[in-house]
């Protein structure tokens, strides 16, 4: 039973990261209708900035906030200068620009920082070997608890932003019908830029926490996390915030259980296979995800 709780808890903790990244994808998708393939690389780049600021002597929490601010500005800039002009042309053009960003940020990070020495990225939370609490026979590391709490708090804030504020109302209006929103006086451009910025800022936070768990920042930091996050967004339905969170946590738990209970067959290496199977299965059976809305197209 203690094994079960251990896997459950570890799964929730990694699921919290997937949820955060999936939220980024959903926030962008709801506003603009496309998937930001560069999301993982954007958060990786911000994580490098956080690491560098910390390296220069800034306290980590302050560095993380700076990283999020830079992420916000960067995300908004990318939307206004690169994405919006080509979005008029085709979805494929947006995809190509996103892939360009992916490759560019990835190689830029590699060129500027190379591979930093391992074990240099501190964690936002206490992360000494003795920093854990035993509950139900499972060790609950403070770091994992911290990630889970941060994930839930950010989700709560996002919900409040979307449902309680004027800006959230504008965002929902743009998501449901951009043209009508513009007609009633919503500044759609600003809303879109803000949703990209918001997604990039959350991504920066998620990246910082990911790097904190392993202690190293590398250009490939977010590859697998991005796949998990897109699996979560697919499972939850690309236009549902709540769906993304629930699906992210579910995927985290399922892959940890699968890896834990079938160490020979799945183990650490094939965890990603679980995410792939989830993507494939969901898309084959229910392409809109569990909480997504069916889209009807007019000929």
């Amino acid at each position: 039973m203690s094994r079960f709780f251990q896997y459950l808890f570890d799964g929730l903790s990694s699921g919290a990261i997937y949820s955060l990244l999936a939220l980024c994808l959903v926030v962008v998708y709801r506003g603009t209708g496309y998937l930001n393939f560069a999301q993982g690389e954007m958060s990786m780049f911000c994580t490098f900035l956080v690491w560098k600021l910390n390296d220069w002597g800034m306290p980590l929490w302050l560095a993380a906030i700076c990283g999020m601010l830079i992420g916000y500005l960067g995300g908004a800039t990318v939307e206004t200068t690169l994405i919006r002009p080509v979005a008029k042309r085709s979805q494929f053009a947006v995809f190509v620009v996103a892939i360009g960003l992916f490759l560019g940020l990835n190689s830029l990070a590699g060129a500027i920082w190379g591979a930093p020495p391992q074990e240099t990225m501190p964690s936002l939370f206490p992360n000494e070997p003795e920093d854990f609490q035993r509950i139900f026979g499972a060790s609950w590391r403070y770091q994992s608890i911290g990630i889970l709490v941060v994930g839930l708090v950010v989700t709560g804030l996002l919900f409040a932003l979307f449902n309680k504020t004027r800006f959230g109302l504008a965002m929902r209006a743009v998501a449901s019908n951009a043209d009508s929103a513009r007609l009633v006086g919503v500044n759609t451009g600003r809303v879109l830029a803000a949703s990209w910025g918001l997604a990039a800022a959350i991504g920066a936070l998620a990246g910082t926490m990911v790097a904190g768990t392993t202690g190293e920042v590398v250009p490939g930091l977010m590859f697998s996390y991005f796949v998990y996050a897109s699996a979560a967004a697919t499972l939850g339905g690309f236009d549902s915030l709540g769906g993304a969170v629930i699906a992210g946590l579910t995927i985290g738990v399922v892959e940890n259980m699968a890896a834990g209970y079938a160490p020979k067959w799945i183990g650490q290496e094939m965890r990603l296979g679980v995410a792939l199977l989830i993507i494939l299965g969901v898309l084959l059976v229910r392409p809109t995800g569990l909480f997504g809305e069916q889209k009807v197209s007019r000929v």
């Binding site: 496309y34 360009g100 560019g104 500027i112 990603l272 792939l276």
Partner: protein, 353 residues
């Protein structure tokens, strides 16, 4: 307004086409006879990219199905050749055919979700495939077949066949020349297959799907068969490029060049830079890509010229940075790629009617 108007199939038009074919033939012959061994090797590398990007072009350029999983098909070809030649003593040719069949089946399966989903969702499935493939090859359960993370080495042509015109081939230089011709043969096959598909009824069906899927279905295009078939063919062609690369280098590892997600992106860059939905585009794109790659590598290493000066601070080659910037800039100024740009400029001078 164009300066000159040329009638289709008039003597002038035929003369231009013959001249074009002659120029290409001269270029193809010039490479192995006049270039240094290192450059011939780079050209062979470019030809492998031509194959992969042309195959990707069938799926993305013509059909509008976005895939970033083609590195996995490249990997299937690589591993099929690697395993069959080194462990089971197959010939290179047979291993290549087997790899292509395997990739066809695999591509067919990957395309199944495409029947129900569109655009970005298919890209997600292919993304997962691309990320999963290297992991799968390093899976301990498959170690008996793939040698895990160490990969397979020593997959060489034991003795080069003696070819007509070229005579007996010996040594490192002749080996390079041999693989160049080997690659040319595969490129010709690929271009003929792509051209055959695009100019046929099937090609028109593909373009109809890209431009208006519902419209295509109404007009009697069988979406399921067409989509899965073109994905399978594209996967099989990509696996040829994988087999070729392994035959050339003699090694295959799960994280090797073009087998990871970055490989898929490279194919995409080649296709977009050259010009999507054209037969010539991927060829130009691959040449540009390999040239930029080689040029920036040497320039940044020696610190020469503008590139060397600009990227003096960088320890690694700035090739991918330059290419990604080029990709984004191209989307703004010339969404049809280099070939599209050239064609547009050429039409100012002469129009073929």
């Amino acid at each position: 307004m164009a300066l000159v108007t040329i009638k289709r199939n008039s003597p002038q038009h035929i003369a231009i086409r013959v001249l074009g074919v002659l120029l290409v033939a001269i270029a193809v012959l010039w490479v192995p006879t006049k270039m240094t061994t290192g450059n011939i090797d780079s050209m062979t590398n470019a030809l492998a990219l031509v194959i992969a990007a042309s195959a990707l072009n069938l799926v993305i350029g013509y059909t509008g199905l976005i895939s970033i999983g083609h590195s996995a098909f490249f990997g299937i070809g690589s591993y099929a050749t690697g395993v069959l030649v080194s462990k089971y003593g197959w010939g290179h040719g047979w291993s290549m055919i087997f790899g292509a069949l395997l990739a066809f089946i695999f591509g067919f399966i990957v395309a199944l979700p495409a029947l129900r989903i569109k655009g970005i969702y298919l890209a997600l499935v292919t993304l997962a495939v691309a990320v999963l493939f290297p992991t799968m090859m390093k899976w301990p359960k498959l170690e008996w077949l793939t040698n895990g993370a160490r990969g397979i080495s020593g997959i060489r042509y034991e003795e080069l066949p003696s070819l007509p015109f070229l005579g007996e081939l010996k040594g490192r230089d002749d080996r390079t020349v041999f693989f160049y011709w080997y690659a040319i043969m595969l490129v010709i096959i690929t271009v003929l297959v792509c051209r055959g598909i695009v100019k046929s009824r099937m090609g028109r069906a593909l373009i109809a799907i890209r431009d208006n899927e519902i419209g295509a279905e109404v007009m009697g295009v069988n979406l399921a068969t067409t989509k899965t078939l073109v994905f399978g063919v594209s996967a099989a062609l990509t696996s040829l490029a994988g087999s070729l690369s392994v035959a050339r280098t003699g090694v295959v590892t799960a994280d090797g060049a073009n087998l990871t997600l970055i490989g898929s992106i490279v194919f995409l860059v080649v296709m977009v830079v050259g010009g999507a939905a054209t037969i010539t585009g991927p060829i130009i794109g691959a040449l540009v890509y390999v040239w930029v790659d080689n040029y920036t590598r040497t320039a940044s290493a020696s610190g020469d010229g503008l590139i060397g000066w600009l990227f003096d601070w960088s320890a690694v080659s700035p090739a991918s940075i330059i290419l990604s910037v080029a990709l984004i800039v191209l989307m703004f100024v010339a969404p049809d790629g280099v070939f599209g740009l050239v064609r547009r400029l050429a039409r100012r001078v002469a129009v073929i009617k």
